[in-house]
Symmetry: D2
Subunit: 137 residues, 4 copies
């Protein structure tokens, strides 16, 4: 089951009239958001067992997992696509990813999952920037 292939079934024709975006960029973005959401959820689940010094990491990764997922789901609902909302949500998601990546990097030496999570955050930020650059209403 290849999720990238599934996403190719989405088409620009489904988007509200007058809205422009690069569909390939959006699909790469959704893929990166999914990977980020999974990495962050795993990181948070792992942090719970490590004690209070991982409290910020656990909370930020829990937030990240939920936000990346909500943003990806928004992209999966073309009928409700709104340029202003999408830009605000992607901005929030990228702001969270920068904070989460910075936090995870502080313990990336000790924790393999934190290292993965920071990489997934950074990759998602890059894909979001590419998608936002392609958007116009």
């Amino acid at each position: 089951m290849d999720t990238m292939e599934m996403m190719k079934s989405m088409s620009m024709d489904d988007m509200p009239q007058g809205m422009t975006m690069d569909m390939d960029a959006m699909q790469e973005c959704m893929h990166a958001m999914n990977a980020c959401s999974m990495a962050a959820a795993m990181c948070a689940g792992s942090d719970m067992m490590k004690g209070a010094e991982m409290a910020a990491c656990c909370a930020m990764c829990s937030n990240m997992a939920e936000m990346a997922q909500a943003t990806m789901h928004m992209m999966m609902r073309p009928a409700g696509m709104d340029m202003m909302v999408m830009q605000a949500m992607m901005t929030a998601c990228m702001t969270m990813a920068k904070a989460c990546s910075a936090e995870c990097k502080m313990h990336a030496d000790m924790d393999e999952i934190c290292r993965y999570c920071a990489m997934a955050c950074d990759d998602m930020i890059m894909k979001c920037e590419a998608m936002m650059a392609s958007m116009a209403a």
Copy 2:
């Protein structure tokens, strides 16, 4: 079981040092976000049965439900509180609520649940504005 009473157990002492916000304003905000998330989820569930002319309403309300909830959950994780992230997420949530409320008002005459949902969105926007006005880092 009174959720407002539960929320009173959260205290400013749990917030990261140097961050200031009105805890009463935050609790009212969380309460409004929960009501908005429920109203939007019910509205989306009801839209599904009404046909393609409710597609935008269904998609927007589904987005609204997920975003209001993610933002409320963020407030419930004091260890990960970050002023920049919180402001970006609240901005995204309010932008969504304005779009969702405008959509729901278009069919508020016919659909009681759309009328409720628009009211819940508007109320949440007001509570978010009050909370944001009280925030400082």
Copy 3:
């Protein structure tokens, strides 16, 4: 904004033909699930700051919050109602609530939020039992 009032806009007419359940019992159940999901999310957020001895509580409450919410959302989508699925999901939710309540009760003396969470779990179990007793396909 009164969420109980909103829920009264749902009607048995929306349910798939041949399915029977007490709508009042379902609305009380949804209300209890929402309260439980909020209490559990707050409990998990608070646990993160308390160290590794609260790891099980944090993980179970995070699971509880997500399951209570998914079950409540299922009730908000009448078009997809399926008796076998609903019974399996409610059974899973109640099994989780029993485990979560037992865990929270172990530290209810020290933590007010754990005490609330256990109460919210117990109340939800009771409301689920009442609703399940009223269901027939």
Copy 4:
């Protein structure tokens, strides 16, 4: 970013004492749940635009997306692992997947995304069965 590789960082050592399961089977299960959750979310988002005859598909796929995700997240929180809860949740998830797959297959001829979603549900059921067969407390 390879999510399968990330999941390999989870280890049996993190599981509560006395619990046995095949970690490879669990990781394959999480992978299949993620693919199923994404396919179902895309299917629901697409259904919204297709009118009332897709109401059941839209509602069931929305339920499926949320349940597969909640079950996957549960597997990512080893500290809260409970055999009874896990079995009940996996049973609920498989019951939902059977109903969702049956619904999607009814319009798999017309809708590519429905065909994908049914395949993702069926694959997840298979992986859940393999994992459940490996579990013991």
